[in-house]
Each structure stands twice: as C-alpha cells, then as structure tokens.
C-alpha cells in the first residue's frame, strides 16, 4: 500500500473518531473546561452578578477560611459523612448482600423489598424520614416509647441529626446490595470447599476466602461512597428545612444547616454564598475546595496500577 493511501486512511480514521466523539468534546469544553477555568477566575474576583467583576486578590480565600462562620462546620460535617456514613453504608451493604445470598425462600421478594428504597427520589425519601422521625408525632418515636426506649430528637437535635441522615442513607442501600451480591456469587465455590476441608471456621472462611475475592468491589463501594458523601446536598438541606418548619418558597432565607449547623455540607455553602448572598467569588473558593477533595478520591479510583476502573483494551 502506498504511503499516500495509508495517510488518507489515517486521516479518515481520525476524522471518524472526532465525529463520534464530537458530542462529548463539545460538552467537555463548554460544560466542564470553560466553567472550571471560570471558577478559578471568579475565586479571585469580587462579583455580585450585577456590578462588573473586580480583582480582589486572595480576599475571598481569607474570607472563606477565616471569617465565614459556616465553612469549618461544613467541612467537618462532610468529613463526618465521609468517615462514619460511608463506613456504615459499606458494612451494612455487604451484610445485606451476604444475607440475601443465604436466603433461600422467596429470594426475589426479599431482593425487591431491599432494593426499592434505593429508588425513592431523595426529596421524597427525606420528607418521608423527616415525618417518620419527627419527635412529636412521628411513628418511630411512638414505637420507641411504646417499648420503653428513649425517643431522640432526630433532625431537631444537633447530636442526632447526622445519625438520622445516616439512617436515611442506610435505608437506600439497594445499589450496594446488588453489586455486593453479584461479587459474592462470583467467588469460586471450590475455594469455600477447600477451606472447609481444612477445617476453617465461618469467620476464617469470610476473612481468607470471601474478603480477598470481593476486595476490589469493597474498594469501589468505599471510593464511590466517599464521592457521593462529598456531593451530599439534597438530603441534609431538605431534612434541615422540614425540621426547622421554615415556610419554603422561592428566595426564602433559611438558616443553613439546621439545627446548629449540624446538617451543613460543602455543596450547601456554594448555594448559600452564591445564590443567597450573591458573593459568587467566595462561592467559587468553596467550589475549588470541593473540587480538590473529589479529585483526590477520583485519582484513587483510577490509579494506573491497582486502580478500580481500568481503561484497558
């Protein structure tokens, strides 16, 4: 084949690739690269959306880190969600996944029941939980009192609001249950049989056969869970709003993180700074903090060796 036709062929292949990739190439530029650069730009600007932006140096940064009273509580809450909620979610998801592989009666029914809460729209699920856990008339506290247990204030008590959120997240475990179940069923049966012949106890079989086999999936669940926890926005916001009894509507001011900033997360600050205080510059500072955090974990997910999502061939 002559060089000429080879080059023409290559050019055609490049054109073909570009054509197929074009929706995403445009999307990436317009909806990611450009806004990302703008976010960096605005983080050094005073901008309220009306007067033209003016250079502010590092003022937004010092404001957010030193004077904005919501930043550190929000970061602490986000880290709490990342550490406590994600750990519990993974453990619970794995437990339910193992349970479902052991149930031999009406498996389909159980599986569907366990999966359904995952589908509940977050706003609806949070409103339902705000009602269920409502300290005055909520059915959960009614039941707790009937059996003589203390009835906590849940979303109305700063010490209980995050556990209440965790309960809501544990309820929606369906996706994790499914991937754990798939992974558990993939563990080679022979390994269990061999372990049993060697006289391994149930715990030893779990520790030395199950766990090594499903560890990539556990890691996947941890990392994606961490990323979800960092994006956590709707549930704490709605829980706080409903519990505080604020009358909602467009433009209603609302003390973020009710009660006592205990349900504040980083994404909420971006909304608060940008769309309630019209301080777009400081909102972009928080956005960059969030970006940095999420990129650390994404990199973990995609490490070249031992990464969980491989490009491969």
């Amino acid at each position: 084949m002559s060089t000429y036709t080879l080059r023409a062929k290559r050019r055609r292949a490049a054109f073909r690739t570009a054509a197929f990739m074009s929706p995403w190439l445009i999307g990436f530029t317009v909806f990611f690269a450009y806004p990302m650069l703008s976010t960096v730009y605005f983080s050094f600007m005073h901008y309220d959306g009306f007067k033209p932006p003016t250079w502010s140096g590092t003022q937004n940064w010092t404001y957010v880190f030193e004077h904005y009273p919501y930043f550190w509580p929000a970061l602490r809450n986000t880290l709490w969600l990342v550490l406590v909620t994600v750990t519990l979610r993974v453990l619970f998801g794995l437990g339910v996944g193992m349970l479902i592989t052991k149930i031999k009666t009406a498996t389909g029914v159980f599986r569907t029941l366990f999966y359904l809460p995952y589908l509940a729209p977050p706003v609806a699920a949070t409103m339902a939980f705000a009602f269920l856990l409502n300290p005055g008339t909520g059915p959960v506290n009614s039941l707790l009192e009937k059996i003589g247990l203390p009835a906590p204030g849940w979303f109305n008590d700063p010490h209980w609001s995050k556990p209440a959120l965790t309960l809501l997240f544990l309820w929606g475990i369906g996706d994790l249950m499914v991937i754990f179940m798939a992974a558990l069923l993939d563990v080679p049966k022979e390994q269990y049989e061999a372990a049993e012949l060697d006289g391994a106890s149930a715990w030893q079989r779990f520790r030395f056969v199950t766990l090594p086999n499903i560890s990539p999936i556990v890691m996947f669940a941890v990392v994606t869970g961490v990323i979800q926890a960092m994006q956590c926005y709707t549930q704490p916001l709605i829980a706080g709003k409903v519990a505080s009894g604020v009358i909602q509507g467009a433009g209603t001011q609302f003390e973020p993180g009710y009660p006592e900033k205990s349900t504040l997360t980083l994404p909420q600050l971006i909304y608060n700074l940008g769309f309630q205080r019209f301080d777009y510059g400081s909102a972009c500072v928080v956005a960059l903090v969030l970006f940095a955090l999420s990129m650390v974990f994404t990199a973990f997910l995609m490490r070249r060796r031992g990464g969980l999502i491989q490009a491969g061939d």
């Binding site: 159980f110 339902a128 991937i179 994006q231 909602q248 490009a311």
Partner: protein, 298 residues
Amino acid sequence: MTQVLDKPVELKEPAVSPAERTARRRALLEWIAVHSLGLAAALFFTLPFVFVLLTSLMSDSQALSRDLIPHTWEWSNYRRVFDTPGFLTWWRNTLVYAGLGTVLTVVSSIPVAYALAKFRFRGRNLSLMLVISMMMLPPQVVVIPMYLFWAKQLDLSGTLWPLIIPLAFGDAFSIFLLRQFLMTIPNEYLDAARVDGCGDLRTLLRVVLPMAKPGIAAVALFQFFNAWNDYFGPQIYTSENPGAWTLSYGLESFKGAHHTDWNLTMAATVLVMAPVILVFFFAQKAFVEGVTLTGVKG
C-alpha cells in the same frame, strides 16, 4: 393397607451419627437465623413505605395525632393533592425534563461510548479518564459559572432549558455505563459487519445497537430517574418561576404550603415515588444490570 397397620409401626429414626445430627441441627439454626435477620431487614426497608402510605390516608386531624393506623380511609387526600395549584404543572415539567433529557442523553452518548469502547486512537485512555473524572465531579463545582452563563448571557433562567440542553452533549455517567456495556460485545461481530461492507455508522446502527439494547435501556432508566430525582438543578435554574418547577423541587415547597398537613404531604410524597417504583417493576433487569456494570471493572 389394614394389614400393614396391624403390625406395630416402628417409628425409629434412621440411624444418624451424632456428628451428622449436630450438623443438621446447625443447618436448621442457621436457616432460622438467616430468615429472622431477613425478616428484620425486610421490616426496616418496608416499614417507612407503610407508614407513609398509612399517613397519606388519614384525616387532617388524625394526621396530627400519634396514631399509626387511619380511623377513616381518606382516599380523597390524593385528589386534594392534584387540586393543589401547580401540582399538575410540576408533573408536566418533570416529564419534559426527564423525557426529552433522556432521549438527548441516549442519542448523544451512544456514539461517544462506541468510540471509547471500540475505536483505537491516541488519547483514548485520557478521554476515558476525563469522562470518569466528570462523572465523579460534584455538579456544584461548576455551578457558579454555569448559572452566570445561562442566566446572564443567555437569559434562560426560569426555564427548563439550562437543565435539558447540556444533555444533548453526552452525559459522563451514561457514556461510562454504555462503554462498559459495549466492551462486552465481541469484536468479531464488528469485523464481520466490516467484511460485509458496512461503514462505521451502519455497523453501529445495524449491528451494535440491537445487541446493546439492554445497556441502552439501563442508561435511559438511570437518566430518567436522575432527572426525576434532581433537586439541585431545578433549584438553581427554575426557583424564580413556579411555572417551571419540577416535582422534586415542587414537593419541597408543597410542605411549606401545607404547613402541618402531614397527610397531604405524604400523599404527595407517594405520588412522586410511585412512578419510579412502577417503572422499576417493568424494567427490573435493566436496572440491576446497570448497577452491576458500573460496579465492575471493564
């Protein structure tokens, strides 16, 4: 028969070694343990739905009490929810956002996923990594410039367009999920089509797409529910104009309008959850497959 019964029937158990007996006893205990745990879990996952449904059928006064079971079953609560100003508009808006958005996502994500799964080109791994990064990126990171772009430059705030238009340019999660699915289609099919003289587009449309139907169904479902569940997007772009609110966003304001009416609020909550759950029963397989594919390395 009678003759048999004349003889005393020996009810002796077949000889069982003690070891076997303990093994059987353990198996029975395990069965009981597993099923009690299963029932406990089933209660944890279903009771919230049950309480929400029960409350949605209570009378106004009873909804403020601590009762768990309705005295009278007020099915009219659901009609009252539909009669609330705006509720039907929110349904329509949600269907537009979810329906149009899903079609655009699927159409724009397929070619990209196909290229990432089946073409060899320089920068493919980099592109895939960027897709995954975008998938992991909290939407709030870029929301300030995006809002300024749609609201100040294009004057489209108060409409659904800032939510829908970006979906015409591929959605990172959908691209990734479809790519995972297309990786499972053997290359031999594509080679055969090429030998038969199919161009790239024809191969994609005639050979790959029919085989990728389950993957496409999964992507469509996820996208539909993402739009259905989305709260942040509608809050940013439509909050100023109640005529453009979606169900998820409207539901939250509903609680404000019906301040203490837990029964009506829960009826509305049921109405927002119901379609999702109904669709799930018709498309379980696509759902579960989609969830599994995103959790497995490609």
